[in-house]
Amino acid sequence: MWKEVRDRETGTLLPLSLVRRLRSRRLAALQLSNRKEIVSPHHGAVNSLQVDLTEGRYLLSGASDGSAAVYDIQHTTDYDGGLIAKHKNLFVVDKQHNHGHKFAISTAIWYPIDTGLFITGSFDHHVKVWDTNMIQVVMDFKMPGKVYGTAMSSIATAHMLIATGSADVQVRLCDIASGAFTHTLSGHRDGVMSLEWSTSSEWILMTGGCDGAIRFWDIRRAGCFCVLDQSRSQLGRRPPFSQGTPKRDFIASTVSTGKSSFEKTPVSQKRMPVGNGKKQLTTSRKNQNVSGGPSTQRLHPGMSSSHNRATAHYGAVTGLRATSDGMYLLSSGSDSRLRLWDIESGCNTLVNFEAMRLQTSKAIQLAAFQDSSLVFVPSMASVKAYDMWSGTNLGTFRGHYELVNCCYFNLQDQELYTGSNDRQILVWSPSIPAVTVMEEDDKKGQTLSTDRDNWSD
């Protein structure tokens, strides 16, 4: 490693290449950490994990026994046997707390601006906003159904809305500033299990429902502007350039003519190939008498997509993750498939992630790391790592005894945290810690105290 640092100094190696090399070397050596352990106080399955976005220091976990806990993952609380660092929780909020959740917590996220607040959503139909330092509930929102997922936009500067998906078909946006619901997004035909704000625009929200559809909402307008369809596909990362442009003119003309109701627009019935525009009107009819025709009421143009029944998965959409540049979206479904979507064109890039079995009843948390093109997927009792563009399985992390629900990848330290039904949170870190490499270079003759035998005399 020192030779590479010297190369960077002299200019033989570019700084970015050095970073990338070190990172990929550490990622290739990812395994169950033998130096770090998180002591989990939960008495139920761990459902959600997140490290705070500002410092990357505090890990928040939510569990099925209604408890949420925060751990400091950079500073240890005590050592065990001199080698393994144990990280105990800084505090726990559980059912005994006078305002705690009564049923399982399905999602726990940090307020993206700082760690002063965190938000938990639970099966007791409540979304609570907590003050971290006082450990008190600051705000409480009641949902019409069990809360499956919450999300806040990390790039938002003009709003502080919590998007919540529940067993009810409508997605609600809760405002922390006012304490009320600002938006209700309808369009899904079943509960909404996973939500994700766009990483490139603070106004765009992506939701995945139990009906298998993924919808894109711009919260400044009514209705969703895009529904992902798994049969619309493109071969490759970006759609071919030549096919994109002529179709866009065609779609623009139909959108402008079809203002009031969708049955008036004469959309041609010929199947359009890859790379289409946003407003997909799938139903149209000629002047024949067809039984079971569409209703004759006029629809708001934003609501016309509620008739779009395209599905992104054959089952429920259980997890969504957008890449950090905002161009691709990963979605996992209960049909045990993982799909990579190109957000710009709305097409399925047809990357086939090799055979995996995903749990079907709960939402799972995926982790995507775009610089190294890695995707971590909790697959039954293990976590699988895939290459994002080719779909090859790069490694399987087996350590949990039961189904894994969530995984979170910490970019700073290249560590992976996984939580599962066996109530444990496991840490996976590169087995070549950079510290010992440097120490060995400096002090050649001195061995570490851990290598010495303690029992021989």
Binding site: G236, R271, R285, V290, L350, R357
Partner: protein, 273 residues
């Protein structure tokens, strides 16, 4: 191309090598004409694998059915799955083959070459012609208008009627006729959507799911849940009309079984997670 033939060759029995090669050369001539003049010379790996598996389709006694290939079988015989998906997509667009969603299991798809499907459709229509004499033009409309333009696995009721109406006046009886011929199936979740289906395939599908269960239980009963491939291939399944090689390819491709190279040959093992 050598890689796919080697991979596929390991699944064949010993004596099949020559037979496979002969029927392969016969199958070569059909898709060449179907592809047209532009892409005549090169075959993608996926296409070679499809043709080889089509020639190896087991002959079923009771039902006459044209060969079809399951998508999981394709995954097990070609290495790069993303490339398989993309090749399938381009072959679908060129109308060389059609993909159907099967009702057995979550993500089962069957691939059939276009000429095989048309033959299957023709034989099912012929049975209908003996019984009823009216409303049979809907099959012609289906073939010319719907099959050419709709390349998906499913179709909405509205779209179906508007495509069929290119041929003439469409009534509900026409749609009912298509469903009873087995060309369309209603979706369970959505009453307005139909899946495209292969007619007369019901008994084969039943045999498929029962054969899968039988093969998995056969391996699960063994002490170490594994068995060498050579004796496994010679066994016959009681409940399925399809042969062992078909089921093995299908289960390996869908991830239920794993095949490992050992010094004693290939061993098939039940996958753990």
């Amino acid at each position: 191309m050598a890689e796919t033939s080697r991979l596929a060759g390991t699944k064949r029995g010993r004596g099949d090598e020559e037979i496979g090669a002969d029927s392969n050369s016969n199958a070569d001539s059909d898709p060449r004409q179907a592809l047209g003049l532009e892409n005549n010379l090169t075959f993608s790996d996926t296409l070679v694998a499809l043709q080889m598996m089509r020639s190896q389709f087991p002959s079923v006694e009771k039902v006459t059915i044209q060969p079809f290939i399951l998508q999981s079988q394709l995954y097990s015989s070609v290495k790069d799955r993303t490339q398989v998906d993309r090749d399938l997509e381009s072959l679908k667009k060129e109308k060389v083959l059609r993909v159907f969603k099967l009702s057995t299991g979550q993500d089962d798809h069957a691939i059939m070459f276009m000429e095989d499907y048309l033959k299957q459709m023709a034989s099912s229509v012929k049975r209908f012609e003996k019984e009823k004499q009216h409303d049979l033009e809907v099959f012609e409309w289906f073939k010319t208008y719907v099959m050419e333009s709709k390349l998906d696995v499913c179709i909405a009721h509205q779209e179906l009627c508007s495509l069929l109406s290119h041929g003439g006046e469409v009534t509900d009886r026409h749609v009912t006729l298509l469903i009873s011929a087995g060309l369309l199936t209603r979706q369970l979740i959505d009453p307005n959507m139909y899946w495209f289906a292969i007619p007369n395939i019901g008994s084969i599908l039943k045999g498929l799911s029962q054969g899968r269960k039988e093969l998995l239980s056969l391996l699960n009963r063994r002490k170490y849940k594994e068995m060498p491939l050579a004796p496994l291939e010679k066994k016959r399944l009681r409940l399925s009309p399809l042969d062992m090689r078909f089921h093995l390819r299908d289960l390996i491709g869908s991830g239920h079984l794993k095949s490992l190279q050992t010094p004693a040959g290939i061993i098939v093992r039940v996958a753990k997670d």
